[in-house]
Amino acid sequence: MEAFQNRFYLNFIKDDRWQYIWDGLGVTLKVTFFAVLLGILLGFLVAVVRSTNEKTGKLKFLNFLAKVYLTVIRGTPVVVQLLIIYFVIFGSVKIDKVFVAVLAFGLNSGAYVAEIFRSGIMSIDNGQFEAGRSLGFNYVQTMYHIIMPQAFKNVLPALGNEFIVLLKETSVSGYIAMQDLTKGGDIIRSQTYDAFMPLLAVAAIYLVMVMIFTKLVGILERRLRSSDH
C-alpha cells in the first residue's frame, strides 16, 4: 500500500506532474471540440452536394471534388494526414499546433461525417420529398424542413460513434509534439520511468469522457424520438 502511495506521489504530486495530465486534457478537449465542429460543417456540406447530385443530377463538378476529398481522406491514415499538414503544408511557417490538429482531425472527420449524413438523407423515403415538393416547397426548403430533421434523427447514433472515435484519435497528436492528454501521460512516464500509473490514468480519463459523451448522446436520442410512439 505504501509502495502504491509512493508511486502515486512520484507520478502525480511531485513537481506538480498532474499538470501534464490536466493541461493535456484541456488541449485534447479543445482539439476535439473544434474538430467536431469543423467535421460537422464539412461533412454536412459534402453530404448535401453528394445527395443533391444523386437526387437531381446537378452539381456535377462539386460532386467530383467531394468524391476526391472522400477518397483521399478515407484512403490514408489520419496520422499521415496530420504529419503532412504540419510538416509539408505548413512546413515553412511557424504555426500553432492546436490549429494544425483541429484542421487535420476536422478534415478527416468531415469525410466520415459526410457519408453518415448522406446515408441519413438517402434513408428518408422519397415520398417525404415528393410530399414537400407537391405542397410547393422548393428543393432547399424541402431538405431543410422535412428531410434533414428526420435524417439527423436517424444518423445520431452513428454520429455519436464518430465523435467518440475522433476524441480518441486525437491521441496521435504527439506525432507533431502537441501536448495533449496522451502526450502528457507519456511525458510523466519518461520522467518517472513508471509506465503503469500515468498511462492507466490517461486511459481512465478517456474512458470517463467517452462514457459521459455516450450518455449525452443517449439523452438527445430519446428527446428526438418523442415523435415515435
Binding site: 423515403d125 415520398g127 417525404q128 415528393e130 410530399a131 415538393r133 407537391s134 405542397l135 410547393g136 416547397f137 422548393n138 426548403q141 424542413h145 422535412i146 430533421p149 428526420q150 434523427k153 415523435s227 415515435d228 410512439h229
Partner: protein, 247 residues
C-alpha cells in the same frame, strides 16, 4: 353537376419515355374547373405517371402542360408557385412523421403563404373539425390509423387552398374498413365543387362521383365519358375486358 367550362389544366401531346418504354404515349386532354375526373386502367397503363406529371413530380419527356393558362413545362416558370395551387394526395399518405398533425397542416401555409401561426392554426382546426379529427391535432402521424392519416393528408393539401386536387390511388394502401371514410371525405370535396383528378380502383366512387371517367392503357387514353356511358356501354375492346375482370 354542371361544369362551368373554364379550362384549368390543359395537356398537349404528352410523352414520358424510359429508355424504349413509353409510360405516356401522346396524351392531349383538358380538365375544366369543377370536374371530377377519375382515371382507371390496368397497372402499368401510365395513369399514375399521367397524374404525377400534372404537377411535374414526373417531368414529361415531351409535350406541354398548361395550368391556369401558364405553360408549367416552361423552364422559366416557377413550378413551386403553381404546385401550391395543386394539392396532391399519395397512396402512402406521406405525412411528416417528425411533426404533429397540426404542424403537418400548418407548415406550408406558414412558410409559403406567409400566414401567421395563429391564423394558420385556426384554419387548420376548422378543417380538422370538418373531418372530425380535431382531437388529433397534437398527435403524431404514427399514432393514427391509415384512414385517419389519409384524411389528414387531404386536409394538409386543402390548407393551401388549392384550385385542383390530385389523388394518386388514395385508398390502395388502406385496410378495407378504412376505405369508406376516405372516399366519404373525397365525395364531400367533390360535392363542394373542388376540381379533382383521381387515379383509383374504386369503381363505386367513379360511378357515383365522377363527372368523367377515363380509361388508360399502354400510355394512352383509350376511352372516356360520363360514368353511365363508360360503365354501361364501353366501346373499346381493352376496356370491356378490363371492366369484365373487375366488376
Amino acid at each position: 353537376m354542371t361544369i362551368n367550362g373554364r379550362t384549368l389544366i390543359k395537356v398537349e401531346n404528352l410523352y414520358k419515355t424510359y429508355d424504349d418504354f413509353h409510360a405516356l404515349a401522346g396524351i392531349s386532354e383538358e380538365i375544366c374547373e369543377g370536374e371530377v375526373v377519375v382515371v382507371v386502367g390496368p397497372s402499368g397503363s401510365g395513369k399514375s405517371t399521367f397524374l404525377r406529371s400534372l404537377n411535374l413530380l414526373e417531368v414529361p419527356t415531351e409535350g406541354k402542360i398548361y395550368f391556369d393558362g401558364t405553360d408549367i413545362t416552361d423552364q422559366r416558370v416557377d413550378i413551386n408557385k403553381h404546385r401550391q395551387k395543386m394539392g396532391m394526395v399519395f397512396q402512402h399518405f406521406n405525412l411528416f412523421p417528425h411533426k404533429t398533425i397540426m404542424q403537418n397542416i400548418t407548415l406550408a401555409p406558414i412558410k409559403l403563404l406567409k400566414k401567421g401561426k395563429a391564423e394558420a392554426e385556426e384554419e387548420a382546426m376548422r378543417l380538422l373539425r370538418q373531418v372530425g379529427l380535431e382531437a388529433k391535432a397534437d398527435a403524431y402521424p404514427s399514432q393514427l390509423s391509415g384512414g385517419q392519416k389519409q384524411r389528414i393528408a387531404i386536409v394538409r393539401s386543402l390548407a393551401m387552398q388549392p384550385e385542383v386536387m390530385l389523388f394518386d390511388e388514395p385508398t390502395s394502401a388502406l385496410d378495407p374498413e378504412m376505405v369508406g371514410e376516405v372516399l366519404e371525405l373525397m365525395k364531400r370535396l367533390a360535392h363542394d365543387g373542388m376540381t379533382m383528378v383521381v387515379v383509383t380502383h374504386e369503381m363505386g366512387f367513379a360511378k357515383e362521383v365522377a363527372t368523367r371517367v377515363m380509361f388508360m392503357d399502354a400510355g394512352r387514353i383509350k376511352e372516356q365519358g360520363i360514368p353511365e356511358e363508360f360503365f354501361n356501354n364501353p366501346k373499346d375492346e381493352r376496356l370491356r375486358e378490363f371492366l369484365s375482370k373487375i366488376l
